[in-house]
């Protein structure tokens, strides 16, 4: 029997409350991105004990230099420091968190601001501005879209919107949007050919630029995502799309979330009756189903 969205949300909150510290797949060791998303989702649904467990896990994994590694150790890479900072900040704002979280945010931001993507001499082989610094996946390599977007979200959520690196990050994300809208991992043209967009990075671009800019290629990116909703979509891509399209419709007077129901129904059907196969993906979708109340979208104008 098909589960309704409301029933699914209820089931997932119970699951999240029971196990907030998790990895990328069932049974895998905890990892930073799933734990940070879990924390933010729990914050969004007022599940304080779960949020606290997740935030404490991230805190325990923070290295001396302020970094939080993808696999919660000291071996890098460290792009997940961004997501950890957002989680701690949001917890602190909601529940007047302990000083340890404020200190963790400060150290995490200091770490993020201590490095950037490697610049590349401008050339005719790629179409984007290779001198914009942004953030890389791995230190010592070029900047790419998602780590830059996550760093921008961290700076914005943690009261650093005015920082020059935040401004440049927004510029980089815009620069990596394809002429017709949408983004991929972070190239636009390669050897004269325009690349194709993908849902997840396109959506993450819009979320990172939430309430910064409107119109132009952001509108065409939102149009691209609306079109993709008619095709089978993975749970992570769907979740990011819901967040992105909620952002895109921020200034409309009437939010119509019913338009997402068809895509959600297909997603639940594919996940099966229990839907318990990937808690990390489920957490992100659960967060996205808060729509305007999602902690990730709780941002002032830039």
């Amino acid at each position: 029997m098909m589960v309704t969205t409301a029933e699914w949300v209820k089931q997932q909150q119970i699951r999240l409350a029971a196990q907030p510290v998790l990895g990328y797949a069932l049974g895998q060791a905890p990892a930073a991105e799933p734990v940070a998303i879990s924390a933010l989702t729990a914050i969004g649904y007022d599940l304080r004990p779960a949020a606290e467990s997740a935030c404490k896990c991230l805190l325990a994994s923070q290295n001396a230099d302020g970094s939080v590694a993808t696999q919660l150790n000291d071996q890098g890479p460290f792009w997940t420091t961004s997501l950890a900072c957002v989680a701690w900040q949001k917890f602190g704002l909601k529940w007047d968190g302990p000083p340890a979280y404020r200190d963790a945010v400060r150290r995490g931001l200091d770490f993020l601001l201590s490095f950037g993507g490697e610049q590349i001499e401008p050339n005719d082989e790629v179409g984007h501005n290779t001198l914009l610094v942004g953030w890389p996946w791995v230190q010592g390599t070029h900047s790419w879209l998602e780590p830059t977007a996550f760093a921008l979200l961290a700076l914005r959520h943690c009261d650093q919107s005015a920082h020059p690196r935040a401004r440049e990050a927004a510029e980089l994300i815009m620069d990596r949007i394809l002429p017709g809208g949408g983004s991929n991992y972070g190239n636009t043209l390669v050897l004269g050919q325009r690349l194709r967009p993908h849902v997840q990075p396109s959506a993450i671009s819009l979320v990172a630029l939430h309430r910064i800019l409107r119109g132009g290629r952001l509108t065409s990116t939102a149009d691209y995502l609306r079109g993709e909703l008619h095709h089978p979509m993975g749970m992570l891509s769907l979740a990011w799309s819901l967040l992105a399209l909620t952002s895109a419709d921020w200034h409309t007077t009437q939010q119509d979330n019913a338009k997402f129901e068809a895509a959600l129904a297909k997603c639940f059907e594919r996940a099966g009756p229990s839907g318990s196969e990937n808690p990390h993906r489920q957490n992100l979708l659960l967060m996205a189903l808060l729509y305007r109340e999602s902690p990730l979208l709780d941002l002032p104008e830039f």
Partner: protein, 336 residues
């Protein structure tokens, strides 16, 4: 989880008559590749046809002993670098994966499918866009997301790049045999991509990024060579039915060849792929490095089983760019 698979008891799988000595040494001392390696080619192949029989025949023709597979963990590694509904010829066809799985299961192996897409972080989406999601469910195959698993470290055996070690995901560390299932394609930086380059997908994005920029910064030819030297036991089954020419490996156009290739030495198979495309193997940067280190390029050291490549060769369009123009002698079949 850390460890060197060279010390593992699981890596004892031996292809009849061809122990891969280089992969078991801890030092970068390359022995000259003096023996011949078999490469099997089948023609007139199509998806939904007799792929199971073709793959079985090909593996047997390459001297694989089916008895040695009983109880072994076999990881099938297709190419799902950046699937798109608009380009089914970019990625390994699901029916090739299913057929390969059926053959290895027939022989008593424990089979799973694994991939770490290099350009797409949402692996579920990549599986759906490539059609592999349905194939996995239909064939009840476990999928290992190589981008996000716990990792172990392996000493860089090849040592042609500066990286002292590689991180490999758990499923790769635990496999007795990794089967490279590439798509036959051109490549806008390397000229071509085949069995060896496909192994970039065993490198986890959670450690190397999307794209796996760490590898590019350390040299694509060098890292291709060294990953293949370090990853352990491999063989390859190439989807050369619907191929890609022009601006591969992502945006190229369809070229139908109707072939399947099988081999226990990935370098020998890639050299044959290059010849089929009318490219000079020694001029493909990663093949030039692999030559005599990982396998032979010379025709004299490649035993053709099944069809001979000469009657099947058909020039693939490649980009008209400085770094690609020398890959063939003829100044034809370039595209802007």
């Amino acid at each position: 989880m850390t460890g060197n698979p060279n010390a593992s008891n699981r890596r004892k799988f031996i292809v009849t008559g061809s122990a891969i000595a280089a992969a078991t040494t801890a030092a970068a001392v390359w022995h000259e590749w003096s023996r011949s390696e078999p490469v099997f080619i089948a023609r007139n192949q199509r998806y939904g046809g007799q792929l199971v029989a073709t793959i079985r025949d090909g593996l047997l023709a390459c001297d694989l002993d089916p008895r040695s597979l009983r109880g072994k963990r076999v990881l099938l590694k297709p190419n799902l670098v950046e699937p798109s509904r608009q380009s089914p010829h970019m990625t390994t066809h699901p029916s090739v994966i299913q057929a390969a799985a059926e053959v290895f299961r027939e022989w008593g192996a424990e089979v799973s499918v694994g991939e770490g897409p290099g350009h797409v972080r949402d692996t579920e989406q990549a599986l759906m866009d490539s059609g592999v999601w349905e194939a996995l469910h239909d064939s009840q195959l476990v999928f290992e997301d190589l981008n996000y698993q716990e990792v172990g470290t392996v000493t860089n055996i090849g040592k042609t790049c500066r990286l002292p070690e590689f991180y490999f995901p758990r499923a790769v560390m635990e496999a007795d045999l990794i089967v490279s299932l590439p798509k036959m394609k051109t490549h806008h930086w390397m000229g071509m991509t085949g069995a060896l380059k496909n192994m970039y997908g065993v490198i986890p994005g959670i450690k190397y990024g999307w794209p796996k920029n760490v590898l590019h910064y350390n040299g694509i030819p060098q890292t291709v060579c060294d990953i293949n030297a370090s990853v352990g036991r491999t063989l390859t089954i190439v989807d050369a039915i619907d191929c890609m020419e022009g601006d591969g490996p992502i945006l190229g156009s369809l070229k139908q060849m109707g072939l399947m290739l099988v081999g226990t030495n990935l370098t020998a198979v890639d050299a044959t792929l290059a010849r089929l495309m009318d490219l000079e193997p020694e001029r493909i940067p990663y093949l030039a490095l692999a030559k005599e280190r990982l396998g032979p390029l010379a025709e004299s050291h490649i035993e053709q089983r099944g069809e001979a490549w000469q009657s099947l060769a058909s020039p693939f369009l490649i980009l008209d760019r400085d770094h690609l123009r020398n890959l063939r002698d003829a100044r034809t079949h370039f595209v802007t």
